[in-house]
């Protein structure tokens, strides 16, 4: 109780310290006067009366000091003193302070920004969703098919029924709705979701309601939709009476039953959803047909939420057991199939997985940049501490404790770090949504990849900041604590260039670290650039000058017959245009997000093992497709208008498939069974790339779009530029049907480039930060070299007086700097050899130890280092020997 009281009164004393001084002065003065008067009364002479009084009193200054210390809290007082002193020191050298703060702001800010990206994209991508930590992605696997196939609805329901460790099973399949706006059509991202979607996620629509369980059931029975907040605002002008109104979606009026809350973008990392429709509407939104009752149709992407306390392993074990039972019960569809659960950051079907390596690299890069920045600031502080050696020595000599000096230096570091952290957090706040700019837009739309700055990000960034402060703040502190009083008080002379290397050891070490780290970044950038170049040199096997686009006829509610007629008419009109060589229909655009059709097949004359099932991807294409795409025909013919609904079913296989299943015989004339239907093989096409440039040649075949489904995609071989073609196309489409509009018109090259976005993003990031690191390292080197030169004027003067010419001096100083650089490069090489192996998946046909890359990184480093050293060296030659020696 008393203690608290004392503390409080001391704290109060801290605040009203200002008026304490005159009080105590007056009180002590009064005391002395009284004592002197008393002494005088006893008959002492005035002089003696005064000195006796003082003697009796003890040291006035010391009493005051004790009094002051008692009056407030010394710890705070010291801190306050240090703070003011530190601020004054920083103000006195604004250039230094600015540079240091800038370095640190960049370091801390880029770290905080990347943390917020990782938090918002990988770890907690759905901020409005309750219990994200218990949410897992669910995807299938198939023994015979690589990758992560989807799950069928009957299987999904069986999992839900038979598993006990799960709170909820949520279907969330991304789909697109084409909305015509002017003469361009735009894709609005939408999701087919199970009826429990909004309830299970804990997201309450702000208007209307979510879906009800009955709305899962019945083929196309519930044309209802919940719309996003942004759509409600932009397209419906925040209409408060929106509920109950209808919106045409894929040619069918849908009743709007709810508006999702602001900030809810659905549960697909990368794209913001605008409509949600219930599961029963699957057929309307999936161009490949009705799938709700077929266990073999795997199309569902989704999430599960585990019950509290259930681990991923337990859940996986339970669901795998159920999958095993399903495999036994339905061998025809489920043989060799199962499901996997993934934490959100490893979700296979959205952009979490594709962005993971890029974000990993981003993290490594910004941590290196922070380290380099710390080393740089440490070096700056050190150089300054050397300048202040005299001040420090005097403070030590007059009795300041060494710990007090350390405290002072750390306080200065803390001031720098605090300002830099404030700037860094601001920078992170501005940059939190910038990640998306590194990725290309699609259909004129940017992806939706907001960063998330929550308490975890803030805590982590603060932690980083504290560690950084200790890192760079302690360097000069350690150095200072080694000051030897006697030798330091003597006028300091001595050179640094020639002998006396030990003193510069810490500084050189810091530069070495910087050089090594930026070398690692350079190597990383070089490797990625090399592999990107390798990827871009791969021929896709088709003409990349071909234009591609789509015309979604579902918007107008076309049936099959009408859409076939429309497509024929459109192709005719396009081919009649000047400058158009040919045009063709395709269902799936190569290198697109939409996946190809895939089916179990049988080949006439090819015996499969009893347990083996051949599953091959295929595309539905129109007449003259191969010619339009520039895919060479090896033998036979491609499709013509005659391959229609009434004609004999046919197929064109690629040469890889021919070699694999016909073993050298010409497949033309033999038969192929797809989904139980026999097709006549009429041609063989040269293999091309279908989904990614890096893929290995794989079997693939084409079937006529007329005999299978409705095509949406269009490829056009033309000499016209895309913008011109887009206008012409819009005109032709409008002429056929006022309600239709084509999508974005791009070259196949552009389409292909979008799939290498991840690699390009990584290259760009490493190049930018690698460059930054190089500049920082060069500044560090420059700082150390110029300091060294400025400290050794006397030595340099002596050398000159003894006959050294400018060339000798330049050589001497350059060799000092370059020796440091080479040491840094050697350390960097060792580190890079260990680290680049982690880039595995991003590298294509480039060895992580590619000598050319290491060599050029080394060259760049040496050039930068030479530039950084040259200026100080040149300045050294300007030393005036007479003056240097006289000083």
């Amino acid at each position: 109780m008393t203690k608290i009281r004392v503390l409080l009164s001391r704290l109060a004393g801290l605040l009203r310290k200002g008026n304490l001084e005159p009080d105590i002065d007056e009180e002590l003065d009064f005391h002395l006067q009284m004592e002197i008067a008393e002494n005088l009364r006893q008959g002492m002479p005035p002089d003696e009366a005064r000195s006796a009084a003082l003697r009796r009193f003890g040291g006035v200054a010391r009493v005051k000091e004790t009094y002051r210390e008692t009056h407030s809290l010394p710890v705070f007082q010291v801190l306050w003193q240090d703070l003011r002193y530190g601020l004054r020191m920083l103000r006195r050298s604004p250039g230094f302070s600015l540079l240091a703060i800038l370095c640190l702001t960049l370091g801390i800010g880029s770290n905080a920004a990347v943390f917020s990206w990782i938090e918002g994209i990988l770890l907690r991508p759905f901020p409005m969703v309750a219990h994200q930590d218990r949410m897992m992605a669910i995807a299938g696997w198939n023994r015979d098919v690589p990758g992560d196939p989807d799950v069928s609805w009957p299987d999904f329901q069986d999992f839900e029924k038979n598993c006990t460790l799960f709170d909820a099973f949520i279907v969330d399949r991304i789909t697109g709705v084409t909305l015509a706006i002017g003469d361009r059509s735009e894709v609005a991202r939408s999701s087919i979701v199970s009826a429990n979607y909004f309830d299970a996620l804990g997201v309450r629509p702000i208007l209307g309601r979510g879906f009800e369980p009955s709305e899962n059931i019945g083929r196309n029975a519930h044309p209802l939709t919940v719309i996003s907040y942004q759509l409600w605002q932009s397209r419906y002008k925040s209409d408060p009476n929106i509920i109950g109104k209808t919106q045409m979606l894929n040619g069918m009026p849908h009743t709007i039953i709810g508006v999702a809350p602001e900030g809810f973008y659905g549960t697909f990392v990368g794209w913001a959803m605008e409509f949600w429709v219930p599961l029963s509407m699957q057929e309307k939104f999936d161009p490949s047909g009705y799938k709700l009752e077929d266990r073999g149709e795997r199309w569902i992407e989704g999430f599960v939420r585990l019950k509290p306390g259930v681990t991923l392993e337990q859940a996986q074990a339970e669901i795998s057991a159920v999958a095993k039972r399903l495999e036994a019960a339905y061998p025809k569809t489920n043989r060799g199939c199962g499901v996997n659960l993934f934490p959100l950051w490893r979700t296979p079907f959205n952009n979490a997985r594709t962005l993971f390596p890029t974000l990993g690299i981003a993290l490594a890069v910004v941590v290196s940049v922070l380290l380099i920045a710390c080393a740089n600031v440490g070096n700056l502080l050190l150089v300054r501490a050397f300048g202040r050696r005299h001040e420090m020595t005097i403070r030590l000599a007059v009795g300041a404790g060494r710990s007090r000096l350390l405290k002072q230096l750390l306080t200065e570091g803390m001031i720098l770090a605090t300002i830099a952290a404030a700037g860094g957090f601001l920078m992170a706040y501005w940059c939190r949504n910038l990640f998306v700019l590194l990725l290309p837009a699609r259909d004129g739309q940017r992806m939706n990849l907001p960063g998330e700055i929550d308490w975890r990000v803030l805590a982590l960034s603060t932690g980083v900041c504290v560690i950084a402060t200790l890192l760079f703040g302690l360097v000069p502190a350690v150095q200072t604590s080694k000051i030897d009083l006697t030798s330091a008080l003597k006028a300091e002379a001595g050179g640094v260039v020639g002998g006396g290397r030990r003193r510069g050891l810490v500084r050189s070490g810091l530069v070495l670290v910087q050089v090594a780290l930026s070398f690692v970044l350079l190597v990383g950038a070089g490797l990625l650039l090399q592999s990107l170049r390798g990827i871009q040199n791969i021929s896709p096997g088709f003409s990349t000058m071909t234009l591609t686009t789509n015309v979604d006829v579902k918007v107008a509610g076309y049936d099959r017959q009408r859409s076939n007629n429309f497509q024929d008419a459109l192709i005719d009109r396009l081919q009649a245009l000047g400058g158009v060589e040919s045009a063709a229909i395709q269902r799936t655009t190569p290198f697109g997000y939409r996946s190809y059709s895939s089916a179990p097949i049988a080949v006439e004359g090819y015996e499969t093992a009893p347990d083996q099932q051949l599953i091959v991807d295929y595309n539905e294409v129109g007449p003259a497709y191969l010619a339009t795409m520039g895919i060479p025909l090896v033998s036979g013919r491609e499709f013509t208008r005659a391959d229609n609904e009434t004609a004999q079913p046919v197929a064109v296989v690629n040469d890889v498939m021919a070699a694999l299943y016909w073993r050298g015989r010409d497949p033309v004339g033999s038969r192929l069974q797809v989904k139980g239907k026999w097709l006549q093989v009429v041609g063989v096409a040269r293999v091309s790339k279908y989904e990614r440039l890096m893929e290995t040649p794989k079997p693939f075949f084409f079937v006529p779009v007329r005999q299978n489904s409705v095509g949406l995609g269009l490829v056009i071989r033309t000499s016209l530029p895309p913008a011109v073609m887009a206008k012409a196309l819009a005109r032709e489409v409008k002429a056929l049907d006022e309600n239709l509009a084509p999508g974005e018109v791009i070259t196949m090259q552009e389409q292909v480039d979008r799939t290498t976005a991840v690699q390009r993003t990584a290259v760009m990031m490493l190049a930018v930060f690698g460059g930054l690191a190089l500049v920082l390292a060069a500044i560090g080197l420059y700082g150390v070299m110029s300091y060294t030169v400025s400290q050794s004027t006397r030595e340099l003067g002596l050398r000159m007086a003894l006959g050294a010419d400018a060339g000798n001096l330049v050589r001497l100083i350059m060799s000092n700097g370059l020796a440091l650089t080479v040491a840094g490069v050697v350390a960097g090489t060792a580190a890079a050899l260990g680290l680049t192996r982690l880039m595995g998946t991003l590298l294509y046909k480039v060895s992580p130890r590619d000598p050319a890359v290491f060599g050029s990184a080394c060259l760049v480093m040496i050039i930068a280092a030479s530039a950084a050293c040259f200026l100080p060296a040149w300045r050294a030659t300007r030393t005036d020997p007479v003056r240097a020696l006289r000083e």
Binding site: T2, F30, H31, E38, F57, Y67
Partner: protein, 115 residues
């Protein structure tokens, strides 16, 4: 040397100050110092200066208060007065001191005890 002295004084100085203020009523610093020296019969060589931090500490404890007033010779001086909590503390400290003094004197003069 100063260290031992202040250490001893720390505890006892509080007692002396409190007793002085209790007996004489409000006093300024110099008056307290004089009184302590008188009572101790000038046997106690007090560093008068060390009185002031002690006075501040006693205030922080809430045992004494201070306010500015006029001295006998009409100069501005700070007067200290004992509080109710101070009186309680004085009683407790005096009793404690007597107990300790009693014990110590028995150690100092064992002969008197046995006789």
């Amino acid at each position: 040397m100063t260290k031992d002295k202040t250490d001893i004084l720390h505890g006892s100085l509080a007692l002396m100050v409190l007793r002085t203020l209790d007996t004489l009523g409000p006093q300024h610093g110099w008056g307290i110092a004089r009184r302590i020296e008188q009572i101790s019969g000038d046997a106690l060589e007090l560093n008068q200066g060390s009185l002031y931090p002690a006075l501040l500490r006693l205030q922080q404890m809430g045992w004494i208060t201070s306010k500015w007033g006029a001295s006998d010779n009409n100069r501005r001086a700070r007067f200290y007065a004992i509080t109710r909590a101070g009186k309680k503390q004085l009683a407790a400290e005096a009793a404690n001191w007597e107990r300790i003094a009693g014990i110590l004197s028995r150690f100092a003069n064992p002969a008197r005890e046995s006789s």
